[in-house]
C-alpha cells in the first residue's frame, strides 16, 4: 500500500482544520465575547481556532493547486510523489505498535514490567537475538532504570500491582 504525498497533505489539513473547529466549539463554553473587564476567557482560543481553520483551508487549497498541474504536464508542474511506500509503512507499524502495547501494559502492570516485556519482544523478534540474551537485556534495562530513577534521582515510576504484591513500592 502506498500513500501519496497529496493524500497525506490533504488529510493533515483536514485534521488540523477539524482541530481548529473543535477549539472554536470548545471555547464557546467560556464565552467568546467582550465582557465588562475586557475579553472573556474564550475570546483568545476562539480566535486561535479560527486562524487554524483558515490556515488549514489555505493549505488544502494550496495542495490541490500545486498538484493540479501534475495531470497536465507543463512548466512548473509537480509530479505525484509518495508520502510513504508499503515496505516502509510496514516497518513503521511494526515499530510503533509494540510501543503502544508497552504503554497499554504499563498502565495496567506498571512501567518496569511494561519496558521489560517490550525490550524482550524487540530483542527477540526485531533484532533476532537468542531468547536467553534477550531476557538478560530486558532484566538489565529494568535494573539500570530502577537504580537511576528510584535510587539516584528519587523519581518513583509506576510500579503496578505485581511489584506491589512483592512489596516493592
Amino acid at each position: 500500500m502506498e500513500i501519496s504525498r497529496k493524500t497525506m497533505e490533504a488529510a493533515t489539513a483536514v485534521v488540523t482544520g477539524g482541530v481548529g473547529a473543535l477549539i472554536c466549539y470548545g471555547s464557546t463554553e467560556n464565552g467568546i465575547g467582550w465582557g465588562a473587564g475586557g475579553p472573556e476567557p474564550g475570546y483568545f482560543p476562539f480566535g486561535i481556532g479560527c486562524l487554524i481553520l483558515l490556515g488549514s483551508l489555505a493549505t488544502l487549497v494550496q495542495t490541490f493547486w500545486k498538484y493540479a498541474g501534475a495531470r497536465h504536464p507543463g512548466p512548473g508542474a509537480v509530479a505525484e510523489e509518495p508520502f510513504i511506500d508499503g515496505t516502509r509503512l510496514r516497518l513503521l507499524v511494526a515499530f510503533a505498535l509494540p510501543i503502544m502495547a508497552m504503554t497499554a501494559i504499563s498502565v495496567w502492570l506498571g512501567l518496569y514490567i511494561g519496558m521489560g516485556l517490550y525490550i524482550f519482544y524487540t530483542m527477540r523478534v526485531s533484532a533476532g537475538f537468542r531468547t536467553l540474551s534477550s531476557l538478560a537485556t530486558a532484566l538489565l534495562v529494568i535494573a539500570i532504570n530502577f537504580v537511576v530513577f528510584e535510587k539516584l534521582f528519587m523519581v518513583p515510576l509506576l510500579k503496578g500491582p505485581i511489584l506491589e504484591y512483592f512489596g516493592i513500592y
Binding site: 493533515t12 482541530v19 477549539i23 474564550g42 482560543p45 510503533a96 510501543i99 530483542m123
Partner: protein, 507 residues
Amino acid sequence: MGNFGQLMDGFAVALTLHHVMIMVIGVLLGLIVGVLPGLGAPNGVSLLLPLTFTMDPISAIILLTSMYWGALFGGSTTSILFNIPGEPSSVATTFDGHPMAKQGEAVRALTLAFGSAGFGAMVGVIVITLLSSWVANFALRFGSPEYFAVYFMAFASFIGMAGGSPFKTLVCIMLGLAVGTVGMDTISGEGRLTFGITQLTNGISFLIVVIGLFGIGELLLTIDEGYKFDGVKAKLSLPVILRTLAELPRYWVTLLRSALVGCWMGITPGGPTAASFMSYALGRRFSKRGKYFGKGEPEGIVAPETADHSAGSCALLPMLALGVPGSATAAVMMGGLMIWGLSPGPMLFTSRPDFVWGLIASMYMGNVIAVVLVLATVPIFAWILRAPFTVVGPLIAIVCLIGAYTVSNHMFDVWVALAFGVAGYVFKKLDYPLAPFVLAVVLGDKAEDAFRQSMLSSGGSLAVFFENPLVASMMGIGILLLSLPLLSALFNGLFRRGAGAGQTSSS
C-alpha cells in the same frame, strides 16, 4: 564596565568543583543525545528537566545548558563520520564534512568542525555577556502592550522568514498556542478546552509536547528513512588535531561572517538550523573557493558549524533578557526556569544576578569542556553507533516514554506524548515547522496574559498597541514580517510570471 565585575562574580559561582562536575556530566549526556538520531537537544533537555526539580536552580540550569552544548557538538560527529546528522542543525555540516572524512581526513574534518564550533559559541557567549544586561535594562521599561508586541514580532518573524509555506507555519503556531491554553485559565480560573476530560484540567505540559514532537516523532522518522550506518573510521592523532587547529585562523573571514550570521539568527528566532544553512549558502557565494563546496572544502565545514553554534548560544540571550526564547531548546529551558520559580526577563537580572551571571560564566567553561570532551569521545561514539538501530531504537523509545511519565507521574501524559509523536512525524515529513509550535506552547500563556492585561488597562481598545513610538514600531515590524510572504508572492507574480511555482522548505 559593570558587566565585567558581575561576570567575575559569575565565574566564582560557576567555577566550584561541584559545578564543573555538573558541566562534565551535562556535556557527556548532551553528546549522547546529540549523537543518537531520534534524541535531539530540545528533547534531551525536556527529558532531563523533571529530574532537576529537586536541584537548586543554578546547578540545574548549568546542567541543562551544558547538555545543550554537548548536543550541539555531538550532532556534528555523526554528520561527518556517518553522513547522518544527529541534529537538524548539523545537516549543512554533512555537505563538506562527510566528503572530507571519506578522503581519509576524518580527524581534520572533525577538528575543523569542533574548532570553528567552539569559536562560534565563544562569539555567541561574548555577545550575550556584552548585550544581555543592556537589553534587559531596555526591557525594564516594557509594559504589557510592549510584551505582547515582542511576542507578536517573534511569531510574525517565523511566518515571514520561515521559507516554507506561511500557512503551515500559521497552523503550527496556532496549534501550539491552543495547546498552551488548555486547562485552567490564569485570569478567570475557568477550565478551558478540556472537553470534560479531568486529566486536561492541569493543562498539557510543554515537556510532553516536545518529547512527542521531537522525540517520538524523530524516532518514527528515523525508522521511515531506513537507518543504516555506513561510517568512516576515525583514528585520533594529536599532531593532526594541533595542525588543523593552527590552520583554523586562515579562515578568519568565513569565521567572522558565519559568527555574525549565527548571532543574528539566534537573537531573532531564526534558530541554529536556519543559521547554518544560510551561512553555508553565503560561504559558497562569497568564498574564493566557493565552487569547490560540497567536495570536502574546509570552509564548507567552518561556515555552517560556526553559525550553528553562535546561533545556538545567542538563542539564550532573548530568553534571559526578554523572556522570549530564540530556539526550541531555549523555549524548553525557559519553561524550566518558570518551573523552578524564576521568571525569565529583565527582572531576573536584578532579582537573581548570581543566577544570570553564574549561567553566563558557565557558558564559557561549558563550551571549552565540550570541545575537549567531544574530541576525546569520538572513538567511543563511533563504536556505539555501530550497534544496529533495532537495538538502539527501542532503548530511545523507553527513554522517551519514561520521560513523558516523569513530568507529572501520569500515564495519561504518555498517551498524549504518543499522539504528539505521530503528529510530529507527519508534520516533519510534510514540512510543517516544529520549532514555532514549541515556542507557542511555552509563550502561549504569557502572550495571552499580555494581550488581556493590555486590553484591561486600555478598556478594550486596540489602539494601546500603537500609542507610543516603541510599541508602535515593534507592532509595525511584526505586521511587515507577516506580510512578507504576500509581498514576495506579489513581487514574483509581477516580475517572474510563471517561474518558480511551488515552495520548498529548508529545515
